[in-house]
């Protein structure tokens, strides 16, 4: 059994990961306002505990499929901020040569299969990755992240069924932040207890407080253990909240300021930090040090990205088709 270690180093690691994500994105907002990052930018503010907690349950050989709101997964998975930031800025040194941008982070080395901007579009891919691993006798599992909105798509249901039918090593991680753009969950779903969807596919499911990083880690480890133990796919609903607009611009007419403020107080970082403080597990200076360290890492990433180059236009058509399958 793969227990969560509640020692000082691990707890600080969890906090550090969430802060790295939060501050990376704060910098992205600045760069967006400066028109260095363009297009859509979907922030993960408020949801950091989900990717940080789940990623703790994964091993290097495991695979990840994410959505357009994937900065958190990418950072928690260990993709370097320098290459991430270069991608945001459309630079050749980025994870995808600047071709994907914020919504399409791919990283072969960490088995990070995108950043997918079609809601639900990653789920069938995850089924196939898990199938491929299983057929080749690899011990890996695949974690597929998706929102509550994706549950409304047929691709979700078809993928749940296939994964269960074929008993695949697949962890479905539903990031239920109660909204799909402006669409509140209760206006979109006849059954709002998303965890109950699993039963319809004879899949084990659990719901967890997605604002509590330790709870997410515990639940994700339990689910990953069951998958590794041969119990088949698992569904994990992480109940969370998006504290900012859907993308950069959004009048947020669909929810009240009070609602957002109430959730902000339950934010995964303030809450975890408060708990660490209350239990004497952190000092204020340690927190400042973590923040300063993250800032330094981000500054270096921005410098790397700014100094990067643009892919020559002559290479535009490169990789439309591949001349070989990369080894």
């Amino acid at each position: 059994m793969n227990k969560v270690r509640l020692d000082h180093a691990h707890l600080h690691h969890l906090l550090r990961q969430m802060i790295r994500i939060r501050q990376f994105e704060a910098k992205c907002v600045e760069l967006y306002q400066a028109q260095k990052i363009l297009g859509f930018l979907h922030l993960y503010d408020g949801e950091e505990a989900v990717s940080v907690g789940v990623m703790e349950a994964l091993r290097p050989e495991d695979a990840i499929v994410a959505t357009y709101r994937e900065h958190g997964q990418a950072i928690a998975r260990g993709i370097g901020m320098d290459r991430l930031m270069a991608e945001m800025l459309g630079k050749l040194e980025g994870t995808c040569r600047g071709r994907g941008g914020s919504m399409h982070i791919f990283d072969r080395a960490t088995r990070f299969y995108g950043g997918n901007a079609i809601v639900g579009g990653g789920l069938p891919l995850a089924v196939g990755i898990a199938l491929g691993d299983k057929m080749q006798g690899r011990a890996a599992i695949t974690a597929s992240f998706f929102g509550d909105g994706a549950v409304e798509e047929g691709e979700f249901h078809e993928s749940m069924n296939l994964a269960s039918l074929w008993h695949l090593p697949l962890l479905f991680v539903c990031e239920n932040n109660l909204y799909a753009m402006g669409m509140a969950l209760e206006r979109a779903e006849a059954e709002t207890e998303l965890v109950r969807k699993a039963a319809g596919y004879r899949m084990a499911g659990a719901a967890v407080d997605g604002m509590d990083v330790v709870a997410v880690e515990v639940a994700a480890r339990a689910a990953a253990d069951r998958i590794r133990g041969g119990e088949g796919p698992q569904f994990l609903e992480c109940r969370t909240y998006r504290l900012r607009a859907h993308s950069m611009y959004d009048a947020q007419l669909y929810r009240t300021k009070e609602e957002v403020e109430a959730w902000r107080k339950k934010g995964p970082i303030v809450r975890f930090y408060g708990w660490l403080l209350d239990n004497g597990l952190i000092h204020d200076e340690e927190m400042r040090a973590i923040e300063a360290e993250a800032d330094a890492e981000i500054e270096a990433a921005v410098a790397f990205a700014e100094a990067g180059s643009l892919e020559p236009v002559a290479e535009l058509e490169r990789f439309v088709t591949m001349d070989r399958v990369p080894a």
Binding site: L38, G39, F40, G90, K91, R97, G98, R99, G100, G101, S102, M103, H104, N116, A117, I118, V119, G120, G121, G149, A150, E152, E153, G154, E155, A180, M181, G182, M183, R187, A188, E189, D250, A251, L253, Y254, L310, E311, V313, L316, E317, V320
Partner: protein, 330 residues
């Protein structure tokens, strides 16, 4: 007269349709409380209520199919799909149901459905949000496909589409929502049959639609400064194509550049070129030319996206070559 935006023109068209016919209702993602992802439907929920302005779950196949079903049952649904890339999740319903049922049922059923779909590149949103797939839909018998490029068409094409007994797809190019123009008070309807000459000229014909038309008009300005008079034809109706108007312009200028943001291979531009080759070959003084989207999934990096899209300079260069062939080439 005051100018209105293309977005506002679309909204006025929708509002008028809702007022005129109680069978008309709207379905789509975030069209109600959110106000539409491009703010086209803003305010309509307050005015017409949830029964007629229906926010749907993210279930493209189901709500587009439901639109087809409601049309079969006597309603006049207007269904919005945020971006043409997402319409692919509903492709089965559109191609296998909407486009087939009238013919397959031996004429027992019509599908008076309107689909509004945003399309096109230029917004730095990469390969899953930026394509121009209207040419695919224009391939499908049973569908009518419109591409309003000017505010007047944005305002009035919808009414004509609703009056049509067939499934009509209206493609709104995302780069056009903010353009502004004054509406001529004398105009209260437009046809959805004919292409339209937007600028007269004798030296070369530029054919385009959607944002491609805007770029063709910009190219015509560049050419005018060089003494080349380009005629710019707005295709407007992508299916069925108005071949007669196209051929008339070809006969006049004898030189052709077709602008299409879609990929060249198997594109609408290929179809237009072939019709000219079949029916207007002897009117031509020069080979046909095309300026199309580069055959790549749309990249995020701005300089690459710009390079992947037709641009006025490229269109002008193609036209210049035809109107003033370099010495020795003819």
């Amino acid at each position: 007269m005051t100018a209105i935006t293309y977005r506002e023109a679309c909204r006025q068209g929708l509002r008028e349709a809702l007022i005129r016919d109680p069978r008309v209702f709207l379905m789509g993602e975030d069209i109600g409380r959110y106000g539409g992802c491009y703010a086209v439907t803003k305010g309509l929920l307050d005015e017409f209520g949830e029964e007629r302005i229906r926010d749907t779950p993210l279930s493209e196949s189901a709500y587009v199919g439901a639109g087809i079903g409601a049309a079969l049952a006597g309603m006049r649904p207007i269904v919005e799909i945020m971006t043409v890339n997402f319409s692919l999740l509903a492709l089965d319903q559109i191609v296998n149901n909407a486009a087939t049922i009238p013919h397959m049922s031996g004429g027992q059923f019509a599908i008076p459905l309107v689909l509004r779909i945003a399309t096109g590149g230029g917004r730095r949103v990469a390969a899953q949000h930026s394509h121009s797939l209207e040419g695919w839909y224009a391939h499908i018998p049973g569908l009518k496909v419109l591409a309003p490029a000017v505010v007047e068409d944005a305002r009035f094409m919808l009414a004509a589409a609703l009056a049509d007994p067939n499934p009509v797809l209206i493609f709104e190019h995302v780069m056009l929502y903010n353009i502004e123009a004054e509406l001529d008070p004398a105009v209260s309807e437009v046809d959805i049959e004919r292409a339209k000459v937007r600028r007269e000229g004798d030296d070369v014909s530029l054919f385009g639609y959607g944002n491609g038309l805007v770029k063709a008009l910009a190219a015509a300005e560049i050419l005018a400064a060089e003494g080349i008079a380009a005629e710019v034809v707005d295709l407007r109706v992508l299916r069925p194509l108005d071949t007669a108007t196209i051929l008339k312009s070809v006969a006049k200028t004898r030189r052709v550049v077709i602008v299409d943001e879609g990929w060249k291979s198997g594109s609408l531009s290929a179809e237009i070129g072939m019709r000219i080759a079949e029916e207007g070959f002897f009117d031509l003084d020069a080979p046909l030319r095309r300026v199309c989207g580069a055959e790549v999934p749309m990249p995020y990096a701005p300089h690459l996206e710009d390079a992947a899209l037709p641009q006025p300079q490229k269109i002008a260069a193609a036209a210049r070559d035809l109107a003033r062939p370099p010495k020795g080439s003819q």
